[in-house]
Subunit: 317 residues, 2 copies
Amino acid sequence: MGSSTVKAFVTGAAGFIGSNLVAELLARGCEVAGLDNFHLGSKRFLEPFVGHPGFTFYEKDLLEFDGLPASLAGSDVVFHLAANSDISQGTARTDTDLKLGTIATYNVLEAMRIAGVPRIVFASTSAVYGEPRRFPTPEDYGPLLPVSLYGASKLACEGLVAAFSNTFSIQAWIFRFANVVGKNGTHGALVDFIRSLRNDPRRLTVRGDGTQTKPYLHVSECIEGMLFALEHAPERINVYNLTSEGTTSVASIARMVIEEMGLQGVDLSYTGGPRGWPGDVPFVDLDSTRMKSLGWTARYRSDDAVRAALRELLQQY
Amino acid sequence: MGSSTVKAFVTGAAGFIGSNLVAELLARGCEVAGLDNFHLGSKRFLEPFVGHPGFTFYEKDLLEFDGLPASLAGSDVVFHLAANSDISQGTARTDTDLKLGTIATYNVLEAMRIAGVPRIVFASTSAVYGEPRRFPTPEDYGPLLPVSLYGASKLACEGLVAAFSNTFSIQAWIFRFANVVGKNGTHGALVDFIRSLRNDPRRLTVRGDGTQTKPYLHVSECIEGMLFALEHAPERINVYNLTSEGTTSVASIARMVIEEMGLQGVDLSYTGGPRGWPGDVPFVDLDSTRMKSLGWTARYRSDDAVRAALRELLQQY
């Protein structure tokens, strides 16, 4: 990805990870085309790129197939990040992830096939593992029985990526992300807690019992890891966990948010139960051995990634 | 399933496995409602049940959601067999399996959720394993990287079944079938070879180099195994390979067909290459240990299942 001639197409370009990725790709000298329907993404996140000669933007919904092959034509690689990343929303309306995840991903792959785009990077998730019996969970863990419809959709997309890759000779990199945090975050524990405490600094209600524990990866390292593997992992289909070391509980995050905001005497309460919401997975720990063997490790540990992200988010929200 | 009060709903009831399952469920005293759109299924396969007091039939496409919850209401268990089982068709039109597999399965699960149906049996496939590196392949093999869009769709359906099961308390049995053969088969090597030789008994052209080797399971045992596991496997989500012992090559099948038809001097030729068609998997061998531990084993070995199926099919075609 070091060459200035690389043409990258980013779906979900106005989203959390997408907007950070566009910034990094432009910084590395790539030509970048971005696409977003502003479902979760924000026009504000695109402002830094407006007028940049290397940046083109398509406001478009991936459920509209027409025109998609033409938009993708000439791209060297598609970073497919667009999705509904709000798990609880997928449980409330059960066809959310089928449409915004599975069918949208089919459209991207079908358009790539027609346009002859040779490479895809797909943002998957630890949620494909459901509630595994092995920790840290390696990439070859099975069977994959997701708890959430979000996880089910990401698994469906992984299968579609694999089948298109095998049948139509598209090279693929599938990353199963830990919880990604940092600048331009749109939802999740950190953003939710900050918003809640900005609104009422006297109390914070945490969904679940606070013991939900997961690895948090800083978005800068998420992007660095993807670009590293894209350069160094040579298989036709490359599947990698992308995670930091260590894990952080939701209760710790609540304490860190209160600390970073300089608040005192906050009435901290928990709704109780092991899950924050239906479809939540209480414990996640991803095996990072495969990325390490490739030569890449996250520098921030999970707690440090949360701390760094909080400082960025407190400047935004 | 021994009780006469069990109400079973069978999707794909006019299909190969569906029609055999309906016959067995009626024989066991169940009330059976069947649904089919006659995409691959045949009205002829339903003739034995016409007028049976325990049988109801819905001619309906699973892509039409309206009315589906009402049709399912009151069922104790759904056997969801409807799918496009013709792998090469899914490669030619890439949205075939997305629609007839993934979206149809979402509709079944959503209708079950609304109607409060507590149990699903889902017909999956060895194709979810793609081209695994471990033989015989066990249920906990990963990562699952299907070769065909058919396999991708079945993987997507497994994920949907798991997520609906976990989120909405539906109990699930997922069976990854070997190649199923027998009465009412609609396509596949056996049927294709018989049809070709009925048409021209002097020559037979086999797709691929004939070395494609897979386990073949007789449809009667496929059904017996499903019903056994439904009764004996108690987890919320139960995933089982359903296979015979041994494997059979396509070249052997060709020889057996010629033998059973009593033909001589047939000019047998091969199109060449390791795959019969794009998306074909050249070698399959499924680990049957989990079903054995539950107490069930197929009696026919793979070669014997093929032989028995051939004799049944030769009476039909």
